[in-house]
């Protein structure tokens, strides 16, 4: 049954990811992106990683995408205002995307999937195990990441502050 759910989710996900690119209106592609995030959260649950799934929704769908939506709504973007890209940038974009595809295929080629892999027996995704690993084994990277966030926050506040003229 899990396999069918996986295929169903993947189909929806690929479809919505394609729609992100194809949609004419920015707000539609944004909503498709949010939808694909939900399918991704579904994949996390299939891997028995509920914590990651929920946090994924909270952080990406619940916070970041709302801000994106905000920006799009306030700027009132639509396809009319968008100017056409020059031929040169179109060609470079195609070449860059093609290179990315080639490197992805190259990376996937060497990948071997263990047939005995069973996500249900894997308990790494639960809150308890994740917390244990995060706060024992990876404490230093975790703290460093938080320092990074703090500095980013301070930087934002500095940028957002009104200029004081002396």
């Amino acid at each position: 049954m899990n396999l069918y759910i996986f295929y169903g989710l993947s189909t929806i996900m690929i479809f919505s990811s394609l729609m992100v690119l194809i949609s004419k209106r920015p707000i539609h592609s944004l909503l498709y992106l949010i939808f694909s995030f939900f399918t991704l959260a579904g994949h996390y649950i299939l891997l028995n990683a509920q914590f990651l799934a929920v946090v994924h929704i909270i952080v990406y769908a619940g916070a970041i995408m709302v801000l994106f939506l905000f920006t799009v709504m306030l700027l009132n973007l639509n396809n009319v205002t968008e100017e056409r890209k020059s031929r040169f940038s179109q060609i470079t974009a195609v070449v860059a995307a093609g290179l990315l595809l080639v490197s992805l295929i190259g990376a996937m080629k060497g990948l071997k999937i263990d047939p005995a892999f069973d996500p249900a027996s894997l308990q790494i995704g639960t809150v308890k195990n994740l917390g244990q690993v995060l706060f024992n084994q990876y404490l230093l990277p975790f703290e460093l990441a938080s320092v990074l966030f703090i500095s980013a926050m301070v930087g934002t506040v500095m940028l957002g502050r009104k200029e004081i003229n002396y």
């Binding site: 707000i27 909503l31 914590f51 929920v54 909270i58 709302v66 939506l69 709504m73 809150v127």
Partner: protein
């Protein structure tokens, strides 16, 4: 998977779904009655005894209203908005423990749809998605008042989610669990979290007001400035969905406040009365429901007492008062937990 287990779950889901809708219906009547009583009036009393059929009449009226879609609106998103609001409002009740397990035919069945081990985070995730219904609806209406209302709603909800989250984190620190069932079980015997976490309780309640867009935080639908806010352009049952979602949200907030801070279905001496397990479950459910009703009443009480905030006051309260206080509460709780361990 046992078939009887599956049947029980389906029945439970259906009854919780029905209960949410019924409660939302009668919450509208309760709101009008409570408002009337606070203003020395009687409120609706024409449809049925004490106006008990009023919600039905309102519903029928909404169904027969003109279905109106602005010509310049984004049709699909315009319909998606209220549906999403309603959908998200109904999602939350899945992880609420409604009572102790019941015994049917020698088997125990938990009165909870899903005991997810990340229950609180699940609720938090659902709440954070709740913004979309309002935002999409407000934007799709293609009306500046609706857009302003939507933007107000979303910025308000994002701002108050932070303080809400921090107050939940303090709760999780003392409870050592993310499962709502476990948190409720820990509060048995009057060890209610409201007594241990008074500050967290107050912050959570204030944020719950803001998250449900209820007065004094009802700026998104502020009539004086924004006509109706995000639902200005809506009519018929689409408007009904928005209003319904608000009342379901209020019911769910009441449920959460009573489950997380007011002991859930716990009541003093309830376990010493020698009830059989099924009656106990029924009594537990009743107690829980009374607590929820009281919290909902307080929601209404505050709505008909306090005036609306100004927008800058709202933001100042959220960012400059509640979040620092919640952080201080977090640090104090952390120290206390560390010392008592």
């Amino acid at each position: 998977m046992n078939i009887d287990y599956l049947i029980f779950k389906i029945v439970l889901i259906a009854s919780i779904f029905g209960l949410s809708l019924l409660v939302a219906m009668y919450a509208t009547l309760m709101e009008r009655k409570v408002a009337a009583f606070f203003q020395d009036r009687y409120g609706p009393n024409r449809a049925g005894k004490w106006g008990l059929l009023q919600p039905l009449a309102d519903g029928i009226k909404l169904f027969f209203k003109e279905e109106f879609v602005p010509s310049s609106a984004d049709k699909l998103l315009y319909i998606l908005g209220p549906s999403l609001s309603m959908f998200v409002a109904l999602l939350t009740s899945a992880v609420i423990p409604w009572g102790t397990p019941v015994v049917i035919g020698g088997k125990q069945y938990a009165l909870q749809v899903a005991d997810v081990n990340v229950g609180i985070l699940y609720i938090f995730a659902v709440v954070s998605i709740g913004v979309y219904g309002i935002m999409i609806g407000g934007w799709a209406s293609n009306n500046k008042y609706a857009l302003l209302g939507a933007i107000r709603a979303s910025s308000q909800m994002i701002s108050y989610e932070l303080a809400l989250g921090i107050s939940i984190v303090t709760l999780v620190m003392t409870a050592q669990s993310l499962s709502i069932l476990e948190i409720v079980e820990q509060q048995k015997g009057m060890h209610w979290n409201a007594f241990y976490q008074p500050l967290g309780f107050i912050i959570f309640t204030i944020c719950a007001f803001a998250e449900t867009n209820r007065a004094p935080f009802d700026l998104p639908e502020c009539e004086t400035e924004l006509i109706g806010g995000y639902h200005t352009e809506y009519s018929s049952m689409k408007l009904g969905f928005y209003l319904f979602a608000e009342y379901i949200n209020m019911f769910i907030s009441g449920t959460l406040i009573s489950a997380l801070f007011l002991g859930g279905y716990d009541f003093p001496f309830i376990n010493d009365m020698g009830f059989s397990q099924n009656t106990l479950a029924a009594v537990h459910f009743l107690v829980f429901f009374c607590k929820i009703s009281f919290v909902v009443f307080v929601f209404m009480w505050i709505r008909w007492t306090l005036p609306r905030f100004r927008y800058d006051q709202l933001m100042r309260l959220g960012w400059k008062k509640l979040i620092p206080i919640a952080c201080i509460n977090l640090v104090i709780t952390g120290v206390v937990v560390l010392l008592t361990q």
